[in-house]
């Protein structure tokens, strides 16, 4: 068991190492096998670990393994050690499973690229880092993985380095998330200074023990950690990097959005739920941020023409749902949505990637069309993903994961009507932009012919993901459907259950409402983008659209507020003002040199004069003293 846990993150890292050091020496096939294989092995190990874990429940709720003592200085001690509990188990399995599928898909997707082995090296590192992140048993190691993930996103977004824009997008991603990370590390410092340990379980124990609810330290720490999470998870106000991060290859987007990176924030908050529970203000903030993000991102998604940017905003929006869930204390609902989201979002990106690939890097959805006829398999899988994303009632997994969030946003003790309204509007938006995408890309007349048909390595993962996007939801049914809570009973080994208040309204009512809104959304999309395109014409070219397209102008705002001042700041004083200190001194001495040099004029009588001046001065002093 322990070996298993240790090997789960190490094997992809080993894959990375092999590919990085000797990548050039392998042919593509081998490199692909190593890349995908290492994640595959991890998946198997994760499954084994999961099975063992489930068998040992409820006796043992977590396993840990320590590899070596990493840092020790003074009272500080941090080990390279991993621990597995139900929360990390879920993440592990999702990461390795989705990651594996993405890797397999990539073998074909990237086959024409010159940086093939580099790509797989990065991907392996990405998965490895994410696994470290979720398996870390101390917060420092978590930070290790956290930064590693950020790095990999940077490397992969800028994978096609020859386009300067890609580089800038990559840099933006790294820097924006790093801003969050910096806040987080300060939070970690506060925790350490107060409790003298980095160990997560111990920390949470002590936090619970020593800090009271709402105590300023708890609030500040939670807020700092939250800020870190906002950066990684691309939530307001640090969401701007994610849409630009589409610069990377599609599998990268799939990996970032579905399995790794962006969900790290969710994981962090869930992992530190004890701390967050002590800071109700922060919890409220999380909920509000989640709600705002999901709305803003939903609107922004409506304004996009780029297929991947639509999906990107949808990710931000869906993560917003998770944050909303976290904010109202519906921990396991958030995690559940994470899992389902991983399936369908990976599916959407991969399927979308196929579309883009076969259309020779065409991203604009309005130049596509009729893809249903051209590539039916892709259409159906994409449709499955879309349906799940829109939370089509009953038949999709998305419904089962999103519905509890909607319900708890209202019914949790910290939930309220406004949160629900936001989530509800968000659901409508989600459906609308999703099916806008579906109708525009797959229906209508064919504008571009696909250049080739995807092979098995691509389609099989899609099919698998499509399958899970539909059925995975059945492991956790809403209360009103009956008592079947496979997922939350697992999660609640680690996470507390949500506290529900007496609302006076039945859950069924809300489910009905959300079902209605989904259908309304689909219908509207159908009308505006299929039946009567003229309806959307004015919108697609209007000012509001531009506003939506720019993601509510956050980039512009940050440019004005932060980037420009910084650039200006670096432009001034490029030559270091303090240098004038030296230049001034040097000039002064040279001036002295010139001045005194004048006295050395070679004239004898002047020399005698200086004698005279000297003696006169001395005598004057003598008399005056």
């Amino acid at each position: 068991m322990e070996t298993c846990i240790a090997l789960i993150p190490l094997i992809p890292l080993l894959g990375f190492l092999i590919l990085a050091v000797a990548g050039g020496k392998f042919d593509r096939k081998t490199a692909g096998y190593i890349g995908a294989g290492s994640v595959g092995i991890s998946l198997v190990l994760a499954l084994i670990a999961g099975a063992l874990f489930l068998r040992s429940l409820p006796g043992v709720s977590s396993y840990s393994v320590s590899l070596w003592e990493w840092i020790s200085a003074g009272e500080l001690r941090a080990d390279m050690s991993f621990s597995l509990d139900s929360l990390s188990l879920v993440f592990c399995i999702v990461i390795t499973f989705v990651g594996f599928l993405i890797h397999v898909y990539s073998i074909e997707f990237m086959s024409g690229d010159e940086g093939f082995s580099r790509f797989f090296a990065y991907m392996n590192l990405f998965v490895g880092s994410m696994l470290i992140l979720v398996l870390a048993d101390n917060i420092l190691l978590l930070y290790f993985g956290w930064e590693g993930v950020g790095l990999c996103s940077y490397l992969l977004i800028g994978f096609w380095y020859k386009e300067p824009e890609n580089g800038y997008a990559a840099r933006k991603a790294f820097i924006v998330t790093r801003i969050g990370d910096t806040a987080m590390i300060i939070g970690i410092f506060i925790l350490f200074v107060n409790f003298r340990t980095f160990h997560l379980d111990e920390l949470m124990l002590q936090v619970n023990d020593k800090w009271s609810v709402g105590s300023p330290l708890a609030v500040i720490t939670a807020a700092l950690l939250l800020f870190g999470a906002l950066g990684k998870s691309a939530q307001l106000p640090l969401q701007t990097w994610l849409p630009d991060a589409m610069a990377g290859p599609s599998p990268v987007s799939a990996l970032i959005h579905a399995a790794t990176m962006v969900t790290a924030g969710v994981y962090l908050i869930a992992r530190c739920h004890v701390l967050f529970n002590l800071a109700p203000v922060v919890m409220t903030a999380i909920a509000i941020i989640g709600a705002l993000t999901l709305l803003i991102a939903g609107f922004s998604a409506l304004g996009q023409h780029d297929l991947k940017r639509i999906l990107a905003y949808s990710t931000i929006s869906q993560i917003g749902y998770m944050f909303l869930a976290l904010g109202v204390g519906a921990w396991s609902a958030a995690i559940f949505h994470f899992m389902i989201h991983a399936f369908f979002k990976a599916l959407l990106f991969l399927a979308g990637g196929v579309v883009i690939l076969v259309l020779k890097e065409e991203h604009d959805i309005f130049r596509m069309g009729g893809m249903k006829k051209e590539m039916p398999l892709i259409f159906f899988t994409f449709l499955a993903g879309s349906a799940s994303l829109s939370a089509l009632p009953l038949v999709t997994a998305g419904f089962y994961s999103k519905d509890p969030i909607l319900w708890y946003s209202f019914s949790s003790v910290t939930g309220n009507f406004w949160l629900w309204i936001a989530a509800f509007t968000g659901a409508f938006l989600t459906t609308l932009y999703t099916f806008r995408l579906v109708f525009v890309v797959f229906f209508g007349e064919t504008k571009l012919k696909p250049s080739f048909q995807p092979g098995k390595l691509m389609t099989v993962p899609l099919a698998i993901l499509a399958f899970f996007s539909i059925v995975a939801g059945f492991i956790e049914l809403p209360e009103s459907f009956g008592r079947f809570h496979l997922f939350s009973s697992l999660a609640e080994n680690t996470l507390p259950a949500v506290t529900v208040r007496e609302t006076g309204y039945p859950e069924t009512l809300f489910q009905l409402l959300s079902a209605l809104i989904v259908f309304a959304g689909i219908y509207l999309a159908y009308l505006a983008y299929y039946k009567k395109p003229s309806m959307s014409e004015s919108f697609e070219h209007g000012r509001i659209h531009r506003f939506f397209e720019s993601g509510f102008g956050f980039d512009r705002l940050y440019d004005v507020l932060l980037v420009n001042p910084l650039v200006w700041l670096s432009a001034i004083n490029r030559n270091d003002i303090f240098d004038w200190l030296n230049i001034g001194l040097a000039r002064l001495t040279v001036l002295g040199n010139r001045l005194f040099s004048l006295t050395q004029n070679g004239k004898l009588r002047w020399y005698v004069m200086s004698f005279t001046i000297g003696i006169v001065l001395i005598l004057t002093y003598m008399i005056l003293r």
Binding site: N593, Q600, L604, S610, F611, G614, I615, L619, R625
Partner: protein, 473 residues
């Protein structure tokens, strides 16, 4: 006068006799090499006689001379420096046209003057020694009389030195008027007795200061220095920078300590002012100087400024530090001038800093010596100058002369700049512009100097021990 008195004056007698013998030899056989060999020998004998003399000390030959270990030490320094200068002069003077044997003869007379200063205990000897030194130097400076600058330097030096002598003399006269004695010790004891010094005695001291300040090249009596250094033959410049200054320093220290000048606020202020001015103006003047001889002249101004600090400590330890400083400064300066001398043809001296371009690569050995000299002047570890500066700062701080030390520190940094300029020029690529080859003779001198700089820099303990054991007033 006993026989012991005679023994105690052995070095002086040797130096005094040498020119006599030389004159006789010249009149019989005018041979450059013979005269050169003889003078080297005579200096060595004089130096050796110091050790012989040592056992008869201290002794004062009333009322004129005081021969004690202190003066013996200075004699040693003077003779050794003169010896080095003699060796370095050989090639340079040898290429001069016309009569040149008298050069060494004059060198002896001036050394005699310097030696007299070292043992002076009386104004008469002070004056005579100074004049003997000066007069011989006029000749030496203008020795290359076919060269206009040499002559110009000679006449400038003569006029200014005479003026300064006049000041000195007038000052002595005033002091004599006030005290009725011309012995240092007598003046001192009389001064101690009466609190109120007559006004004209103070004027006398001030005027003496002009004379001494001139010889030591202290600002504002320094203006002759660069001109004379530049115009004089390079070995003579070396001589002026070392022997002449050392001798005057010897008498100044003795006189100043005898009258306990450091206790007087007046002297303290005046000397401090001279020191500070010398440091700043000397270093600033050297900053952009392109002529290496002038540069060294300015550097010597600054260095004498540093030395004055020790004058104000008023302790034996201060004197010891001064002695060490002088030794290291002499070795270094002779090293620098030695390289210049050896790389110069007497008609056309290699005196522009740019002339030394590429010396590192064409003449590594000469460049090494010059580099070491510059580093030593700048006070960088591994060289004598470093220990000397350390010693100086140590004693200066101990005596509480913080202001002067700080000024000195600032000036060390300014000074570093122009010493580095010389070094930089040496490693800047350039071609060997037909500099003469260095003879074995010259190389030997350079080896001695290099060893001196390095040994004093790395293992100075023995010398410091000797100095602290022997030197005191």
């Amino acid at each position: 006068m006993t026989i012991a008195d005679l023994y105690s004056m052995m070095p002086l007698i040797v130096i005094a006799m040498a020119p006599v013998v030389m004159m006789i030899v010249i009149s019989i056989l005018r041979n450059y090499e013979v005269i050169y060999g003889f003078s080297v020998l005579a200096f060595i004998v004089a130096f050796a006689s110091l050790f012989f003399t040592g056992s008869f000390l201290p002794r004062s030959i009333e009322p004129l001379l005081i021969v004690d270990v202190y003066s013996l030490f200075f004699l040693g320094i003077i003779i050794a420096s003169a010896l080095l200068v003699t060796i370095l002069s050989h090639d340079y003077i040898g290429t001069l046209g016309g009569v040149k044997e008298e050069y060494f003869l004059t060198l002896f007379t001036s050394t005699l003057g310097a030696s007299l200063l070292a043992v002076a205990g009386h104004f008469v000897i002070f004056f005579l020694g100074l004049e003997l030194l000066s007069v011989s130097l006029y000749i030496l400076v203008a020795f290359q009389r076919s060269k206009d600058t040499s002559v110009e330097a000679g006449i400038k030096y003569l006029l200014l030195a005479s003026v300064s002598s006049a000041f000195l003399l007038f000052g002595m006269a005033l002091i004599y008027t006030g005290t009725g004695t011309m012995q240092f010790a007598g003046v001192a004891s009389l001064l101690k007795g009466s609190d109120a010094i007559a006004g004209f005695v103070s004027v006398g001291f001030s005027m003496m200061m002009v004379g001494i300040g001139f010889k030591l090249a202290l600002v504002p009596f320094h203006m002759w220095t660069p001109d004379v250094y530049q115009g004089a033959p390079a070995p003579v410049s070396a001589y002026i920078a070392t022997v002449s200054k050392g001798a005057v320093m010897a008498v100044l220290i003795r006189f100043f300590f005898d009258i306990r000048g450091y206790d007087s606020r007046f002297f303290f202020v005046v000397i401090s002012a001279l020191a500070i001015l010398s440091m700043f103006i000397g270093n600033l003047l050297a900053l952009k100087q392109q002529n290496i001889k002038r540069l060294l002249a300015y550097s010597s101004i600054a260095n004498m400024g540093y030395l004055l600090v020790l004058l104000l400590t008023g302790t034996d330890k201060g004197i010891q530090a001064a002695v060490f400083y002088l030794i290291s400064y002499f070795v270094t300066t002779i090293g620098a001038f030695g390289v210049i001398t050896l790389l110069s043809i007497s008609r056309e001296e290699t005196e522009k800093i740019d002339d030394y371009r590429g010396l590192f690569w064409t003449r590594p050995w000469a460049a090494l010596v010059l580099t070491l000299s510059m580093l030593s002047l700048a006070g960088i570890p591994f060289t004598a100058g470093f220990i000397a500066k350390f010693y100086l700062i140590l004693e200066g701080m101990k005596a509480g002369l913080m202001l002067l030390i700080i000024v000195m520190i600032i000036n060390s940094v300014i000074g570093l700049y122009y010493y580095l300029r010389v070094i930089t020029s040496m490693f800047t690529p350039g071609d060997d512009a037909g500099l003469p080859a260095i003879s074995l003779n010259g190389n030997m001198a350079l080896v001695l100097i290099t060893l001196g700089i390095l040994i004093l820099g790395i293992y100075p303990g023995w010398l410091i021990n000797i100095i602290t054991r022997l030197v005191s007033l």
